[in-house]
Subunit: 511 residues, 2 copies
Amino acid sequence: MEFVIKPIDITSGKNEVILNEEDATKMGLKNGDRLKIRQLDSISTVGMVETTKTIVNEGEIGIYKDLLEKFAFELSTGVEVTAVGRPESFYHIKEKMKGEKLTKDKIYSIVADAVAGNLSNLELAAFILAEEFVGLDMEEVGYLTKAMAETGQMIDFEETVYDKHSIGGVPGNKVTLLIVPIIASAGLLIPKTSSRAITSPAGTADTFEVLAEVSFSIDELKELAKKVRGTIAWGGALNLAPSDDIFIHRVEHGLGIDPLPQMMASIYSKKLATGVDFLVLDIPTLTRYYERGAKVGSVDEASTLARQFVELSDRIEIKTEAAITYGGQPVGHAIGPALEAREALQALEGLRSSASLIEKSCALAGVLIEMSGKATKGQGKQLAEEILNSGKALSKMKEIIEAQGGNPAVKSQDVAVGNYKAELYSSCDGYIVRVDNSQIVKICNAAGTPRDKGAGILLHAKVGYKVKEGDLLLEIYSNSESRLSKAHAIALKNNPIVCEGMLIERISDLT
Amino acid sequence: MEFVIKPIDITSGKNEVILNEEDATKMGLKNGDRLKIRQLDSISTVGMVETTKTIVNEGEIGIYKDLLEKFAFELSTGVEVTAVGRPESFYHIKEKMKGEKLTKDKIYSIVADAVAGNLSNLELAAFILAEEFVGLDMEEVGYLTKAMAETGQMIDFEETVYDKHSIGGVPGNKVTLLIVPIIASAGLLIPKTSSRAITSPAGTADTFEVLAEVSFSIDELKELAKKVRGTIAWGGALNLAPSDDIFIHRVEHGLGIDPLPQMMASIYSKKLATGVDFLVLDIPTLTRYYERGAKVGSVDEASTLARQFVELSDRIEIKTEAAITYGGQPVGHAIGPALEAREALQALEGLRSSASLIEKSCALAGVLIEMSGKATKGQGKQLAEEILNSGKALSKMKEIIEAQGGNPAVKSQDVAVGNYKAELYSSCDGYIVRVDNSQIVKICNAAGTPRDKGAGILLHAKVGYKVKEGDLLLEIYSNSESRLSKAHAIALKNNPIVCEGMLIERISDLT
């Protein structure tokens, strides 16, 4: 049947469509039944039926704002609406739930239907939970990865592409801002696309946006890569592996889960989509039982994970070296977009900066340089340090900033951080034994990260530092006085930095 | 914050609420965040945020029609809206996902939050899928069952309650219409509440509604039980174990699953809520590999299941006897509400009726009679047959029909069935080897069951019947000519009744 679109100004985050009850009855449809909606030959999606007596008239179909925009429906043109059953891919999800191994075609059909809107959130959840509970073998993960890449845009940079990826979890990990200019200075192509923060204080795209633009089209990205050999762009607008966003936003966030097969496919589908040939994979790892807040809890676990990543990357013909890195406390001293951008610039400028930041960045860049053959095994890190110390990496960073529409004359001291500041002091004499990633993230987010780019934390003490009672442990920044005071209260209450010898409890007649 | 309700005339089947974007920003809320909505002290639920620029003004909260009705909000009174985090019960669902055993309190919190609308569909799905993949042990199932009962209405009939329940799956299973009057005639109290069909051609409530009213309040039901000792009522309006409907409609239907722990808790929570003391549990079972359409595939499987049901019922202090019954073809000859009501009346009237219907009904009624002590072991079925043959069960049925507002003078020949009829004939000489439950259901539903009460199938041949080419195999009834022709086409194509000796394929020069 032919319907006229009635736009419904509600952002629903779902793929429901609304019919008048009369039309629904005529078509024999109940709430939750599935409709295929087509416009001309170019646009097609599937929505689940909701009904109304008044909001949508007979002959109209109500489409929510976000769905209208996502599929770019023309309001002036009618749509052809037909009742459809569950897609075949649903039955493949059920096969996986029963423990069966899925073929390439079945996995492709699930991913394609996810992208086309043919699977309900519930059906998507069943797939993700089947991955969690039943699992996928590596052959299946390979197909999933390829299907996720091939159902979106694929970029061909027409030469060998190098890339760095961190599985995340550790705050302050701004190493990309050093690695990209180092690698590009070494003459290698590193067209890095990064994400924005979702629950962390700063994604690389949020951080670099302090210094330059990060949103580009695919053609612009190719142009930039050709011109300056390195980019730090936001990957979100490029339609790379679009099913990833669907799985994440419709299921994984809602349940706070990220099954390993999906995590691997998520990372590598975007690498396939951007034509990556060589990848260094950063796996931040906890090394002591009392550390918290990285995704991987021990070196053993990290090794197992690393082997799985390498096995997957072999299957899809990407050369990966996994690097297990120390994730027990933040990388460097700054956490939050502007604070991190400033710290990265300081490191490039050769100013006093964090040893851990420089050490980690050069180590990872060194791995890529060795993979390229530009340094022999064991010599890559030294070459990376030379590039950094020579000022070449800084010049390259300025080129990238300029190419991406920023001010190449920017200096670290120019970077504006939050207007308001609070401080946390040591209550004991002793040594710092823990900087708690989880609490650092909580305080930063309370202060306004990632939306408030000036918000965040500057650490004045890290593990192993000797402190006296009254020493400054950290500063909290924010552009909002009320958010700052909330963040400060959390910091005072939760001891994000733990000093050995700290008073645990006082008991006296007075209590 | 205080908001004014704006009713949104959309039946959405979900618990979303709509805020103006300005209000959402002010409150720091994003799409999908959770709001607690309270009105006075009596009404409280939780909704997930959707946003709009125009449909809801600042200071208003849009609530969808079904949610408004479900919680009976007053439009003239404001609501207090506060942002809330995930409920604690979500973390218990995650514990179950990780394989942990849940305590009584944790299970109760999950069920209570499901009923209160505090868990999203995704979170409910995670719980149901964790039941499917991780499982619950019998102690957990016991807590789940009690929690599901105690979060709804509990009825106390103030004497010993007998009941019969079928786990379902086999069409034509109208035995309740014989068992209730037989048991009530024996002087036992059997206040049976039944469901309507969801995917089957006729639920017991649909069938009995052909003869009398089935919707009653709890007080009316107690009154009826006191007066005539047996009822055949619809349980849906009584708010018995309301979480069951939530799990079924929000998750299980959408995924076509019914995990065993949930199936057991679903059945027994309603028995607890209606104060059942003695239960005969009918487990229709396939006995041959080529049979289809019952829930249980073999007698071994049925025995395992029966032992689990008995173990659960011991824990919750209901005395159960499980009866494994033949489910390889429909019970009796009639399928569809009116056709089944007519067949049940014929059996009560002592007219020519189905041996399988009478045999099964008396066997199950006999189990209950033996449990009550009114007959010794092995004598119950005979007593049930005597009650049926004496006409006492028919008199009791008339009493029940009259008490439930129907016409007690109704005779089987008065029952109106569909106006239109199609017939299916045998294409071979031989014996019937299969009556396919699944195809029978498909044809009935195409003909209009369960909404068209006159629709359905009357079988003229069952397994073991000798037939000749051209013999009548079945009649299809419908009140719609077009639905009838669709149903007939399905019947012609799919061979619901299979005759041995049937021609499978003809190959000749002509093809």
